[in-house]
Symmetry: C2
Subunit: 405 residues, 2 copies
């Protein structure tokens, strides 16, 4: 087998076990350090050893942790425990009480605060609609476990509001409309909607009929000339300037596996979709996003090689590697082509060399271009119990299913 470039059963088992080991020690970290027994919800700014360095609670992370727990509870025997379910319920109670902007009217009531204080008082507002998406995921995850209709209804109401903001009119979000600001198509809008559809929506539903094809079409438009562009003009052409050339290879690889999941669940006769998802959204971004000098996937790039304007452009963040590993394993699972296993190993070897913390559990997230840890935090405003844990869980499941083939 090794000659073909395909992994042996021993290699597959060792990879699966490595993911399960991280999942185990990562979850020990989260359950030990992040549960706020005093105020509910999760403490989300945690140093290397789990010490709380700030008590603000960030909406993305609160919601994602609830969803992650409901996923593990449903998919892993080991985590089907009263402790996990109870923590997810308490987390959900905190976010239902404190995140929604109840003082607003109509659809805007579906908006959520981006961050609250430890006790739950509003602290930050973001004019992007993503806390709301993660809130929908959290509600839905708990609905799947409890069958409680009120959770389902609230999740679907958040989803409907998001779909409206993403497709029709985002003025509820409060961003100013400026004459010199072109209307644009952002890749993250249909990607997030697709992610929610994959989790929450049945293919025979009215919601699916209205939105699923739109998501796929919009995402595919962002593939242009061998690059996945984050932002397009509404004429589907690249914008002038830095914004129009902005590349986020990790984001493209995440889109790749969302597209593959759509193909697998709803459109498995469409081999062209699978091919595009793999070639254009995974293989190419991994080519142009890989740092040949020091290894790892760059955070951001400029398509034409002009100076990327984000200071962190050359850092190697954990999450593009997590998303890339999931996508490579899916590509290998669906095609059996050893080149995707090779691509997976490239990301896997880099990740397991740079991010794990054998002492305290959970991965470090922020590595500089050279491969040194530049921020020792385990949790912060944009890193929580999500990309790592989802990657370890999905990858262990994917390798398992490859083993069983």
């Amino acid at each position: 087998m090794a000659d073909s470039g395909n992994p042996s059963n021993e290699e597959l088992k060792s990879v699966r076990d490595a993911f399960l080991k991280e999942l185990d020690s990562g979850m020990k970290f989260w359950t030990k350090h992040s549960h706020d027994e005093q105020y509910g919800g999760f403490l989300m700014c945690l140093a290397e050893d789990g010490e709380v360095y700030d008590t603000h609670k960030y909406g993305w992370m609160q919601c994602r942790q609830v969803w992650m727990y409901t996923y593990l509870y449903q998919h892993f025997e080991k985590f089907r425990t009263p402790e996990i379910l109870d923590a997810a319920k308490k987390g959900l109670q905190f976010i239902r009480e404190h995140l929604p902007m109840r003082h607003l009217e109509g659809r805007a009531q579906k908006r959520c605060y981006f961050a609250v204080t430890r006790e739950g008082k509003p602290y930050r507002v973001q004019r992007k609609p993503f806390t709301e998406c993660f809130f929908a995921m959290a509600l839905w995850g708990m609905y799947e476990i409890t069958d409680e209709e009120a959770l389902k209804d609230q999740a679907m109401a958040e989803l409907e509001a998001y779909a409206y903001w993403a497709r029709e009119d985002a003025s509820d979000l409060g961003a100013p409309v400026l004459e010199g600001q072109p209307s644009v198509s952002m890749l993250n809008r249909p990607m997030m909607l697709l992610n929610l559809i994959l989790l929450m929506v049945k293919p025979d539903s009215e919601f699916f009929a209205r939105h699923a094809t739109w998501c796929i079409e919009r995402i595919l438009k962002h593939s242009q000339g061998g690059y996945i562009l984050e932002i397009l003009g509404l004429d589907d052409k690249p914008l002038e300037g830095s914004e129009g050339r902005h590349l986020n290879p990790g984001h493209a690889m995440e889109a790749s596996w969302f597209l593959m999941e759509y193909w697998r669940k709803f459109d498995s006769g469409n081999s062209k979709l699978l091919q595009t998802a793999i070639d254009e959204f995974l293989t190419r971004p991994l080519e142009y996003g890989w740092d040949e000098k020091f290894g790892g996937v760059f955070m951001f790039l400029d398509r034409d090689g002009y100076p990327p304007v984000h200071l962190e452009w050359d850092m190697k963040l954990w999450w593009p590697h997590c998303e890339g590993m999931i996508a490579c394993l899916m590509a290998y699972q669906h095609t059996g082509d050893a080149k995707h296993w090779k691509a997976f190993r490239q990301l896997y070897d880099y990740s397991f060399k740079h991010y794990p913390d054998a002492k305290h559990g959970e991965w470090f997230g922020y590595v500089n271009r050279q491969g040194e840890i530049s921020q020792t935090l385990k949790a912060g405003p944009y890193k929580g119990c999500f990309h790592t844990v989802r990657c370890w869980a999905l990858c262990s499941e994917l390798v398992d299913s490859i083993l069983k083939k």
Copy 2:
């Protein structure tokens, strides 16, 4: 002289000439590449060699370049040219036409857009009042040259609006007021007001009486326990959490020389003020801000050594080094203490090793912790014709005056 640690005249001359050489080649860069002959104003996103990589015009940078040109025109024989004056006038015309938010009412009309398109259409709004401050500086600089009363009046009206936002009520700026968000004292508010007072306000004026002492008192409150804290609670105590421990050593060193200028111009009998400005705002920040491992001043730090949450915390940006050099030379000028010359040389040696570009002129601005250039741009949304040029100009003048002592 060398034994005492004081510089010889040869060393002083060589340092002065090095600054003048950078000033010369830097200004060649700006005049050659940034003047937008087609639409007016300045092109502000320039690659290493001056190529325009984006045509958006950022308000801070447009205004600062106008002010910088008026400063050079007034202070340097070499730049007292029709070309410099004409470019400043055209730049000022562009910003007067396109930056103010004329559709608003009352004091809010004094607000400016943060960025506009090449032609001047509104592109970005910032909920901080600093474009307005730099607009006031630009107007004032041109008033000093032309004696045109309308420029003076408009500059003072912007200054009055800023003082109101900084001291009384910032609700014109549009940031939401949230229950969990404490009212805070930000160091940048009184610093910027002091900077404008130093440039624009006479000590016998009513504006000076109302605001000057407030600025000094507020700035000094931010020095606590050997650190300059960027943010305080309104009770003048450090806030809990990351915000409360946030350090920006370059910003502290910039405050140091604003305080020294205040002392020199308006309060030269107050030796305690001079001592505090030097010991607490310059010497200490340079101690705790210096990277003993790779050299250079860190961008941000956490006072207690917790993980700094900004991804760029360990980068070595040009501007803290520029502001630090000005402050060290002033401290040396006012005290004659050789330790400030030594501190100056530490910053000077680092800067001249890492930032200059002998080929194209103007300094690189973004160096990683290890000292390698991580962003090759010469101009971008937050780097323009300002910190470098102001540093070269002021430092050459300061060394000149030390030579003449």
